[in-house]
């Protein structure tokens, strides 16, 4: 007979066998479907998260690759700063890359300002764009008229598009004209349309076609190049090539310092911080699959045992062992096919709901995205896993001796004495490992799964003996209890499987909840340790700080008051001991260099420690910690871990720039953080740079950008318009202004052009209803410090504008006075924000819960599958007692008595399952204390009772259908046929 006939008979036998054992088939299908659904749902959510994050990053970045043409900050006179780039060279280079196909497209924007010629003059910011390509990602949505593609609206030279915000402010819409003054000339512009930025940005500007913009503002790109260029590439490889070419052809050759930022680096920062979440997701799916597999193996093994005689017949009539195995494998193939297909459909359905729930983990709404790879992988995983799970029962079945047809006895050798069994097991594990590695993408994680399987096996053996031990518990003459316990003993392996399923299901969810509680406790303790104050008063202006401090000190119930730590960020490391930082990077390994460039070369923070008041969580490694002798001095301490990257030792000098202002700091000590949280603590790899509070307080006043309003020019009123000031202090202002100058400002050329301002002219600046008139001392090429149009000394502002630098005070109340002190301070300082430290703990707890809930739901997939497995085991167990119940009914027992018997058995299993779950939980808590650094969590008595109760509930619930079937049995039909 041909191969086709043989295959036909395999399928015919498999189909008819599955249909004959409807209940077992249904259970198996449910287990497979739920397992596959778990993998699919979790896979889709993970993919959606990665897709959402990457997409968001590209939109925010403006492209795949961002070039920063300015190293950061403005050119400080006398400083050897970054070389100004030759923009034509850059453009030629990029055009060459575009022609070569290395990049897809590039673009940049230019900005300038003009004043409207109206009764209420208004400053408008103009942005020149290349409408053919801008934006590379995202869109400029047209509002009026709603034409879709905004570029259709910019037809003439004088056409502009205004944002909806500007449209509201001007009271003008599409079709209107507006007169602006540029270089003392009146220009009429057509408002061709109103657009929305779509980013929620409340911006107030107008778009112009690039050519028209340059013409209008007489803008020379060579003289005033843009800060940034965004680039789009066809794929990530070309993007990396572009980065390399910029480095080699531009930076190295021309000695530029163009910084490149790819969307991958941006999203990797986010995605790498979520790596542990994604790994947890994948493992949850695989655990659900293992639980399902447990049920499938057990069901198929029992199904095989029931067919031992049938197998014996097959072998008696000449069918070989391998053919017997194929009969079972084909059966598994059909089960896997139907179960996996159902699982894929269910998984897609679940994933939609799960994506909504999981959004809180990623702090953004997820764009639900299905990728075919996940579906195909999930389907094939379910299909092949089912076949792999069937191999062992099939192999054991094939070893059945044909003599069983004649003699009703167990003629087989135990399978564990068969070397072939172990070979088959090893091959099955390898195949299964290869399949799951496609998803986990890590052999070490596959190894973790193998270890888990071994633990599960050991746990099952343990449960088996536990069940046997329980069956010997004194029953105190209660017959139903005796019958139930004896049945447990008889079906000890089946019950052990059910116990394993309950333990994994409840244990996984319980472990996640325990971990969450552990994190909350740990964070609360750490916060308590680090927050040695009860109340914070924030945003106190410099002009008021002394007065506030005096008033608080006079208040009853205060035990301590100090100025809370501040920090400065965006400090750039330039050199160490006079050697440029690039020398250190050059000598690092590739991995270290990438890490250091990513973490430390885009700006670091230096905290100001309030010596004597701040909580010290540092353990000295070398040198010393900050002391009173360091107050006001440029002495810093840092983590020994961070110092190791650059081989920094005590006594070394680090040269930073802060807002382009140079700072030289001396390292006086290296430390390791003693608490889990905080800079340099626990798993943190920050540099943990700290100086005295007073030092940082001075440095932060060196340079700061702040938005003001210009309300008057040369004493003539104009409609208020925003402008950014760069406020210089700490001696830096003396590089620009005479030391006696209290009213001078330096303005940018573009501001000068747009307002017709010359040296000697005046402009009045306003902030928070306070204003002051200044005189223009000089006009220079801007912008300053990245985005400012005016430089002004702090000394010229501090008396008139009090809120430029604000302070935070930390108040510690005496014990028992916390509430009263809070109320008192609230009424004394109604204008300031007052924050209670204990509320921080509440906020953190809430945040942790928001993440914990979806993670628990994902972990509970294995619990759902476990319920199916338990139901199946209960069914098999009660089936064995069919004859027993039939006899009971024959001698007069009512349905209720039968149900009571079943219930007692299930409750016994449930209680036992609760205890085994506790064991799993205890082991999990030990592991978590090792790997997550959490304190060993105590499992509370109430939690224990809840777990046992839930286990009983699951056991009883899972046995409802089997119990109902058993109760319906007619006694005579069972007794007639054995």
């Amino acid at each position: 007979m041909g191969l086709i006939s043989r295959i036909g008979i395999y399928f015919k036998y498999a189909t008819s066998s599955l249909l004959r054992r409807k209940q077992k088939t249904l259970f198996s299908l449910l287990a497979i479907s739920l397992s596959v659904a778990a993998i699919i749902a979790i896979g889709i959510v993970s993919y959606s998260a990665e897709y959402t994050i990457s997409g968001t990053v590209k939109s925010e970045l403006g492209g795949d690759l961002l070039l920063n043409l300015r190293g950061g900050g403005f050119q400080v006179p006398g400083m050897g700063g970054t070389t100004t780039v030759d923009f034509d060279l850059i453009e030629d280079f990029l055009t060459g890359l575009k022609d070569a196909g290395t990049i897809d497209e590039y673009t940049y924007t230019l900005g300038s300002m003009a004043v409207t010629d109206s009764d209420e003059p208004r400053m408008i910011r103009f942005i020149g764009i290349d409408s053919g390509v801008y934006p590379l990602y995202g869109e400029i949505a047209t509002i009026e008229p709603n034409v879709g593609d905004y570029s259709l609206l910019l037809q003439d030279t004088n056409d502009i598009l205004i944002t909806d915000t500007l449209s509201d402010n001007l009271g003008l819409g599409s079709g209107s004209t507006i007169l602006v003054i540029v270089d003392d000339e009146l220009v009429e512009l057509n408002i061709a349309g109103v657009v929305s930025t779509g980013t929620g940005d409340i911006s107030d500007y107008a778009y112009m076609e690039m050519g028209a913009f340059k013409e209008l503002f007489n803008y020379d790109v060579a003289e005033n190049p843009p800060n940034q260029i965004v680039i789009r590439t066809q794929n990530d490889y070309l993007m990396e090539d572009t980065v390399d070419l910029i480095e080699s052809e531009i930076n190295e050759r021309e000695k530029y310092s163009i910084r490149t930022t790819t969307y991958i680096e941006q999203s990797e920062n986010t995605l790498s911080s979520l790596e542990i979440v994604f790994t947890f997701f994948k493992l949850s799916g695989i655990v659900a699959l293992l639980v399902g597999g447990l049920g499938i193996i057990t069901t198929m093994y029992i199904s095989m045992k029931e067919r031992k005689k049938e197998i014996g017949i097959m072998k008696a009539i000449g069918i070989k062992n391998i053919n017997v195995i194929f009969f079972f494998i084909v059966e598994a193939f059909l089960l896997g096919l139907v179960g996996s297909a159902t699982g894929v459909a269910l998984g897609i359905f679940f994933s939609k709901q799960l994506a909504v729930i999981a959004s809180s983990i990623f702090r953004t709404s997820l764009i639900w995205t299905i990728n075919s790879d996940t579906l195909i992988y999930g389907f094939l995983l379910g299909l092949f896993s089912t076949m792999v799970f069937q191999i062992l029962p099939a192999y054991i079945g094939s070893r059945v001796r044909p003599i069983i047809v004649l003699k009703d006895m167990e003629g087989d050798d135990p399978f564990y004495k068969d070397i072939g069994f172990f070979i088959i097991t090893a091959i099955s594990l390898l195949v299964f490992g290869a399949i799951i590695n496609i998803n986990l993408n890590s052999w070490s994680l596959v190894l973790v799964i193998f270890v888990l399987i071994l633990i599960m096996l050991g746990f099952t053996i343990f449960c088996r003996y536990l069940v046997k031990a329980i069956s010997f518990i004194p029953t105190l003459g209660i017959l139903s209890l005796k019958m139930a316990l004896k049945n447990l003993e008889r079906n000890c392996w089946t019950i052990a499987t059910a116990l394993l399923a309950i333990s994994i299901g409840l244990g996984t969810v319980g472990a996640v909840l325990m971990a969450g509680e552990g994190v909350k406790t740990s964070v609360s303790e750490s916060l308590s340790n680090n927050l040695n104050y009860d109340i914070q008063i924030m945003s106190i202006p410099e002009s008021s700080i002394k007065q506030v401090e005096e008033r608080i000190l006079l208040t009853e119930g205060i035990s301590n008051l100090y100025r809370y730590s501040i920090s400065i960020s965006d400090c750039y490391i330039q050199s160490i001991n006079g050697r440029p930082i690039s020398n250190y990077l050059y000598r690092m390994s590739d991995g270290d260099r990438d890490f250091v460039e990513d973490r430390f070369m885009s700006g670091v923070s230096i905290s100001g420690q309030n010596i004597g008041n701040d909580v010290i969580n540092q353990q000295i490694a070398s040198g010393r910690l900050l002391g009173v002798e360091d107050i006001g001095r440029n002495n810093i301490i840092m983590t020994s871990r961070g110092a190791a990257y650059f081989d920094i030792k005590v006594g070394d000098k680090i040269f930073f720039t802060y807002e382009d202002y140079p700072i030289e700091m001396t390292v006086i000590g290296l430390y390791s953080q003693t608490s889990t949280f905080g800079p340099g603590g626990g798993g943190s790899t920050n540099l943990g740079l700290m100086a005295s509070y007073e030092t940082i307080e001075e440095i932060r006043k060196t340079s700061k950008n702040q938005e003001f309003n210009i309300i008057s020019v040369n004493d003539g009123p104009i409609s208020s318009s925003a402008v950014i000031l760069n406020i210089v202090g700490n001696g830096l202002e003396n590089d620009y202004f005479s030391i006696y100058d209290e009213n001078g400002v330096i303005i940018s050329r573009s501001l000068s052009n747009s307002n017709g301002l010359k040296i000697g002219d005046t402009l009045t600046l306003e902030l928070n209803d306070r204003s002051k008139k200044f005189e223009v001392r000089d006009i220079q090429n801007g912008p300053f410090n990245l985005e400012a149009q005016i430089i002004v000394p702090y000394r010229a502002l501090k008396d008139n504008f009090s809120g430029i630098y604000t302070y935070t005070l930390a108040v510690d109340a005496e014990t028992g006075y916390e509430e009263i002190t809070l109320k008192k301070l609230g009424s004394m300082f109604p204008d300031y924000r007052i924050f209670e430290a204990s509320r921080l703990q509440e906020m953190v707890t809430r945040m942790i819960d928001q993440v914990l809930i979806p993670i628990s739901i994902i972990a509970s997939f294995s619990l759902f599958v476990a319920v199916i497995v338990i139901a199946n085991m209960m069914y098999i167990s009660t089936l064995d007692r069919k004859r027993e119940f039939a006899i009971m009914k024959a001698i007069g027992a009512r349905n209720w008595s039968v149900l009571k018997n079943i219930a007692i058995e299930n409750i016994s299993i449930g209680v036992t399952g609760g205890f085994t779950s506790l064991l799993v939980l205890y082991l999990a808590s030990q592991l978590m204390s090792i790997f997550l650094g959490l304190d060993k969590s105590m499992i509370s008595f109430i939690f224990m009772m809840e777990l046992i109760g839930l286990s009983v509930l699951i056991s009883v619930f899972a046995s409802i259908i089997p119990a109902y079937n058993i109760v319906k049995i007619r006694p005579l039909s069972v007794l007639r046929y054995e």
């Binding site: 008979i9 036998y13 005689k309 000449g318 070989k320 053919n323 001796r401």
Partner: protein, 228 residues
């Protein structure tokens, strides 16, 4: 007459718990080609055990079994399965058909997995007189019909020897006679050697030889020709 079955010094014991229970205690017998042999004896005498060993379903603890010139005691399981498929046919008291396959499929089942010359299942089903039932499942047939299907199945691979374990045990007397007629027909038409374990005198009557076994040993062999 060439011997198709030779059993020499057959001992068989089973491990039950910690003790070893001897079932066969030194069996020597031969069966010639085309013979009908009946094996009779009380319950527990070792009839089924001997049948299983002669039929290659089990191996003796010691001794040799030569089936059609091949010592099957030295064969690995896969080769033994080939012998079972090619040279031996089995008929059981409980018919042991696969309930989910039709009569025709049951008959053809062994042929899907063996090589060598095979009979046409459609022909066989006609020979056993069940051509009109070929698409029926076993649960839709009477005991006698099922047994005839089982006999047809046993013949699909042209076996040299047909073993039967109480083949008429579950049949009424009328049906029993029909089945026995069939055995005789097989021996006449195909020269099949037939070895039957039985309690039935009717079966013994068609045997050329009756072997009596008691307590694991052959006690008596009586020879007589076919009687029906």
């Amino acid at each position: 007459m060439k011997n198709v079955i030779e059993a020499r010094g057959i001992f068989k014991s089973y491990n039950l718990g910690h003790s070893e229970v001897p079932i066969l205690r030194g069996i020597d017998l031969t069966v010639g080609a085309g013979e009908i042999v009946a094996l009779m004896g009380p319950s527990g005498s070792g009839k089924s055990t001997l049948l299983g060993i002669l039929g290659g379903l089990d191996l003796p603890t010691s001794g040799n079994i030569i089936i059609d010139g091949v010592d099957i005691t030295k064969l690995p399981e896969s080769k033994l399965a080939e012998i079972r498929g090619a040279k031996i046919g089995f008929v059981f008291q409980a018919y042991n058909l696969v309930s989910t396959l039709t009569a025709l499929e049951n008959i053809a089942l062994p042929s899907y997995f063996t090589n060598g010359k095979k009979k046409d299942p459609n022909e066989l089903i006609e020979i056993v007189g069940l051509g009109h039932r070929k698409n029926n499942k076993p649960t839709e047939m009477s005991g006698g019909e099922q047994q005839r299907v089982a006999i047809a199945r046993a013949l699909i691979n042209n076996p040299k020897i047909l073993f039967g374990d109480e083949p008429t045990g579950n049949l009424d007397s009328k049906t029993e006679v029909k089945v026995l007629h069939l055995f005789q027909k097989l021996r006449e038409e195909f020269g099949t050697t037939i070895f039957l374990v039985t309690h039935s005198d009717e079966v013994a009557r068609i045997a050329d030889r009756i072997i009596h076994i008691r307590d694991g040993k052959i006690r008596e062999v009586s020879n007589h020709g076919p009687h029906l």
